[in-house]
Amino acid sequence: MRKTRADRLWLPLSLAGALMIALGALRGEVAVVLNKAVRICLECIGIG
């Protein structure tokens, strides 16, 4: 089965994703995610 360019695209996209995760973590986004996730988000569940 011949590989097309699209078949190989997953690799650079995955690497870009991993890089973005690292950059996001470095600039402190993880704390924002955690801060939101450890509190009951009343808006999210429809009581806010």
Binding site: L11, V32, V33, C41, G46
Partner: protein, 330 residues
């Protein structure tokens, strides 16, 4: 032998779905005490749609997390969550929807309920599926970016206005499992409805604490949830098809993802069995790895000649059995 293998695959998928749903919502204390998990695991995102306000949830919902970061004062773009979605989408595509999403599993189980007339597709079905891209762009990205309060923070608009997973996994268990003596009472206005919602105020997101009440929003979300539940009995995965922004992200990456459907064109006898079996109303032969394919594997299971297979990369599908007599359509 091949049939037995396929049956194991079908049962195996449900077991994987149940296992993932149970594992990612395994904070039992939360259900017992009406609290949510507050540990460090919540820094990580779940690949599927799983509300982080579910009492049992150990991980964050990626869509909720995305809105939280975009809607925060400090950031306008979330490299962390977009990167996570890109990584997961590029490797697994919508296999996440078929195997790892708890809300997808709930809809599938609902669809197993017998109903006289199940709808496979209808007029306008395909255009309506574009709504999930609109959800992603408008409610998840655009509104949290531009519609902020004076402090520069925005609501999670998709969660607030649409997400039935939050209503089912968050609101319902919190209301059901909250001991009345421990929680703050929320009055239902003129209806006299009183619902205990949370054990302590410090658990509640301060951004929304000042305005909590059971009102129009709550009834709107419960109505949406009821509609999704009822529609799921008739239609296969209606929320995934029309509304899920996570499905939109993974769908866009589906054609290029590492985990993919594979077709052995030489083996295919064009019998149409895969098309008839597809719950997402696709034709796998002509729409292989389409954005709407949730990789459930139903097409793989019904293929009489094993022309279709599913896995990582582009390995050739194995030819296991000869075509059944009369299997080819005119």
């Amino acid at each position: 032998m091949a049939k037995e293998r396929k049956r194991i695959f079908v049962r195996g998928r449900l077991l994987i779905q149940l296992f993932v749903a149970a594992l990612s919502n395994s904070y039992i204390t939360g259900f017992a005490a009406g609290k949510i998990y507050q540990g460090d695991l919540k820094q990580l995102c779940h690949p599927g749609l799983n509300c982080y306000s579910c009492p049992g949830a150990l991980l964050s919902c990626p869509i909720g997390a995305l809105q939280a970061v975009i809607g925060s004062r400090a950031f306008n773009l979330s490299l962390y969550v977009f990167g996570f979605l890109l990584l997961v989408g590029a490797t697994l595509g919508r296999m996440v929807c078929g195997f790892l999403c708890p809300f997808g599993m709930i809809q599938e189980l609902l669809h197993k309920i017998p109903f006289p007339k199940k709808l496979r597709t209808f007029r306008g079905d395909r255009p309506l599926r574009g709504m999930k891209y609109l959800m992603l762009f408008v409610l998840v990205v655009l509104l949290p970016l531009i519609l902020t309060n004076p402090a520069g923070e925005a609501s999670p608009y998709f969660c607030k206005l649409v997400c039935p997973a939050g209503a089912l996994e968050g609101a319902v268990p919190l209301v059901l499992f909250q001991p009345a003596s421990a929680g703050a009472q929320v009055s239902g206005g003129g209806l006299g409805l009183t619902i205990p919602i949370a054990p302590t105020v410090d658990l509640i997101d301060p951004a929304s604490a000042s305005q909590y009440n059971v009102g129009t929003l709550f009834y709107w979300k419960m109505s949406l949830l009821a509609a999704v539940i009822l529609l799921s009995v008739v239609l296969y995965r209606p929320f995934c098809k029309y509304l899920c922004p996570l499905g939109a992200v993974y769908g866009a990456l589906n054609p290029v993802s590492l985990y993919r459907l594979r077709l052995d064109k030489a083996a295919c006898i064009q019998c149409g069995a895969c098309k008839r079996a597809c719950g997402m109303a696709l034709d796998p032969i002509h729409e292989l790895n389409h954005a709407e394919c949730v990789r459930c594997g139903d097409c793989v299971n019904v293929c009489p000649v094993d022309a279709l297979s599913m896995g990582f990369g582009n390995k050739k599908a194995g030819r296991k059995e000869k075509a059944p007599q009369g299997g080819k359509q005119a």
